[in-house]
Amino acid sequence: MCGIAGIFLKDKALEPKLGRLLAGMLGTLCDRGPDSAGFAVYGSGMPGLMKLTLRLPAKFDLNALLPALSTAAGASMSPVMHDSHAVIGVPRDREPAVRAEIAHHPAVSIVSSGRRMEVFKEVGRPDKVAARFNLQDMAGTHAIGHTRMATESAVTTNGAHPFTTGPDQCLVHNGSLSNHNALRRDLRREGLTFATDNDSEVAAGFLTWKMREGASLEQAMDASLAALDGFYTFVIGTESGFGVLRDPIACKPAVMAETGDWVAFGTEYRALADLPGVERAEVWEPEPARVYFWQH
């Protein structure tokens, strides 16, 4: 099972409503993935800064950590709290020092980094997870989300999607991969690190590696058709774009819709049924083994 929702806005006027649109889509897909959920939102950047999204354990006092983080960052910082997650802005050249400081606190995880991307994920019913993080009030240009029914690895926050292995890059996956162990070994040799045993994280890592080697997202997605064995529907986000790819057998369902104002992906049409103007949208099923990509 699992459910995927993604939306890419063309109409700037809709940007303040991005989170509300995605929250509605994820709520509809609760029954496809009731055990955990997560989403990535591409909002406004902080000039000159990288955003790090941190996940904090319960009752963790971030204020106690701030002086050390500010010293590492060479500037004071004011975290934006979203339930168990905090977003901090870090000068780009100071990111390694901040990461090194955070590494002294193993209970704190870095969920994502990027100029614009913030990633939030937790175990629990997707509608409740979205409400905890106040997704409905988040703004941005594009966002992708996932409702998980775990099959491949444990129900943990780390096992929830999206997976991110590079700045502003994330991936959500419906399906399962059969060659992820071998591929993870290869990618580790290339210097990538993985936080879980999850197959989907390997797919995210593969795309990150290809793009690091100079491929565009489209080229990286194309290469994954040959490299990945198994079945999958992926929705992939980058700083400026949004891509969709299904394996050649296309077992996993997928529906896309497009109007002049937005492009959306849903595992089922039900997830798209509340989008503004959907009754006039072009609605179609993405073809197997074909790379779809939209970019601002």
Partner: protein, 227 residues
């Protein structure tokens, strides 16, 4: 004319109402509003009625249909008209995977494209797709006709038994034991009947016919008289 708005009424209630209909019913024309991709709309009907669904439907719409004519104005999700026994199902848009799967009878007409596995394991249903069909269509098809006005994807008719496949466009590849066969006069006449039923004015001679080479399954056609 009964009109059921699925924004107000659960699908179970709609279907329970449809299942209660008797052959003598006067409620012969139904409208269903706001389907919004819900699953199993108008599944399991056994009455000679017409149902018009105004919007996109989810999985298994009109599954197991007997006698009824179900018209969907937009797209259909997976398994539309699955295991249909008789009647008609018409989809104005595209259909997702496994359209008409295991259907035993009746007519399924898809005005747009059907994706993968259209007519998988069909057992007597007639399917007319005005657009193209995806990969592995008519997989293990046993009986009935699949007519495709556009193209067919990879492995058409893989492991086919005795269904008839007619494709007007290109076939990307044929599956195991599926071969092109001559289009005889009686095939053209079958095809003419199906095209007329689907409201299409095309020359049957513009289609190519595919079917089983009968090398893969044990039944040998020469022994048909023994059964």
């Amino acid at each position: 004319m009964p009109t059921v708005d699925l924004a107000q009424t659960p699908v179970r209630e709609l279907n329970a109402g449809l299942h209660r209909l008797t052959p003598e019913t006067n409620e012969t024309h139904w409208r269903v509003l706001n389907p919004r991709g819900r699953h199993a709309i108008a599944a399991g009907i056994d009455a000679p009625i017409l149902i018009e669904v105004e919007g996109h439907v989810g999985y298994y719409c009109a599954g197991m249909n007997k006698q009824a004519t179900v018209i969907v104005r937009c797209n259909a999700g997976q398994g539309v008209a699955e295991n249909m026994m008789s009647g008609e199902v018409r989809i104005a848009g595209d259909a997702s995977q496994a359209a008409g799967a295991t259907g035993c009878g009746g007519l399924l007409v898809i005005d747009g494209n059907a994706s993968a596995r259209c007519g998988i394991s069909m057992k007597g249903i007639d399917i007319v797709v005005k657009g193209s069909v995806g990969h592995l269509s008519a997989f293990m098809a046993q009986a009935g006709n699949l007519v495709v006005l556009g193209d067919a994807g990879e492995a058409l008719g893989d492991s086919i038994y005795e269904a008839h496949l007619y494709v007007r466009g290109n076939v990307k590849s044929l599956g195991a034991d599926c071969v092109e066969k001559p289009l005889e006069e009686h095939h053209k006449s079958d095809l003419r009947r199906l095209l007329e039923a689907a409201g299409v004015a095309l020359d049957p001679a513009s289609f190519r016919r595919y079917g089983s080479a009968r090398r893969l399954y044990n039944f040998h056609i020469d022994n048909v008289g023994s059964y």
